[in-house]
Chain length 163, copies 2
DNA sequence: CTGAATCCCTTCCGATACTG
DNA sequence: CAGTATCGGAAGGGATTCAG
């Protein structure tokens, strides 16, 4: 089986004796796997970039900045297979290949865009939360060590002095 | 440096001579990294699950179904550090730890929910697209092989018969 | 230019075992 | 119950090379 195909076990042990409360647990047989691909680092960026315009391979490569040729090619093939991106090959030399969102991909775009926008809009809060967390953790760690040292001292005193 | 800290280079080469068209390329110094964490497989599921209710570690473990103890613990630590999830330790025995979304995390919930809903709502279309793609690819591959075989035959004839 | 294929190193992650 | 520590296999992904 070729590399990117993912053996897709496909199973879905029958949902007998299992009350579907929301979507949470195992009905994701397929969903879980799709979500993984959609929420993939590069897929996210590519879909976000392909907004109402088509871009060629090299343009995407430059725009994403950091993606390797290998990963971009793989990502695009997957997105094409999933019917989210359309690939147009122009029979010219040098070859030119354009990528654009399919109607299905376009419906995903706004959702992904929302996610990206959220991240942009809250990155400062997250950075602050991280800083606060790190400080708290450092303090706790320090207090912990002090406590250990104190106990050590006490133990030494007891052993050395009066016993 | 401990495992999950991620060396966070933090750089962001100054945005001189770079027209910010949208968000696409490199202003993601920080965003890119946050997006990666948020769009993470387990983070997504955990945040989606923590809807207006608090769950304890084991409940999450069961609900997510498939996550290892290690990954769940790591994911929760990260989410806590990012200020998206709040952790409450009850000083009882056996220990009990509750997790719930912070206000910040709650604002992310709907967005993530939208992503999950999209996936659920379009999984059939994606499955169909994949099937179609695979068939097309198989046909092309078959045609390719036929062509090769045909040319082979011709070449053999030329070499053997009249030359 | 647009890929596919190979090599190879790094990171991820699950299984297991051990604390509080 | 709620973790942390360690280890080994598996997967991810970059650099390079070759082809159309």
């Amino acid at each position: 089986m070729k590399e990117g195909t993912s053996e897709t076990p496909g199973y879905c042990r029958d949902t007998e004796d299992y009350d579907v409360r929301q979507w949470d647990t195992r009905e994701d047989c397929e969903v879980r796997q799709i979500l993984d691909r959609i929420a993939d680092k590069w897929s996210l960026l590519v879909i976000a970039l392909l907004d109402r315009r088509s871009l060629r391979f090299t343009e995407l490569r430059r725009a994403v900045d950091g993606v390797s040729q290998r990963m971009l090619a793989r990502t695009l093939r997957q997105l094409e297979r999933d019917g989210l991106v359309h690939r147009t090959v122009h029979a010219v030399v040098p070859p030119r290949v354009d990528y654009e969102l399919t109607p299905l991909g376009a419906t995903l775009h706004s959702t992904i865009r929302a996610l990206v926008d959220w991240t942009e809009g809250h990155q400062n809060e997250i950075a602050a939360a991280r800083a606060a967390y790190d400080i708290r953790e450092a303090e706790e760690r320090a207090a912990q060590e002090q406590e250990v040292a104190r106990r050590d001292a006490v133990a030494r005193d007891v052993l050395a002095g009066r016993r």
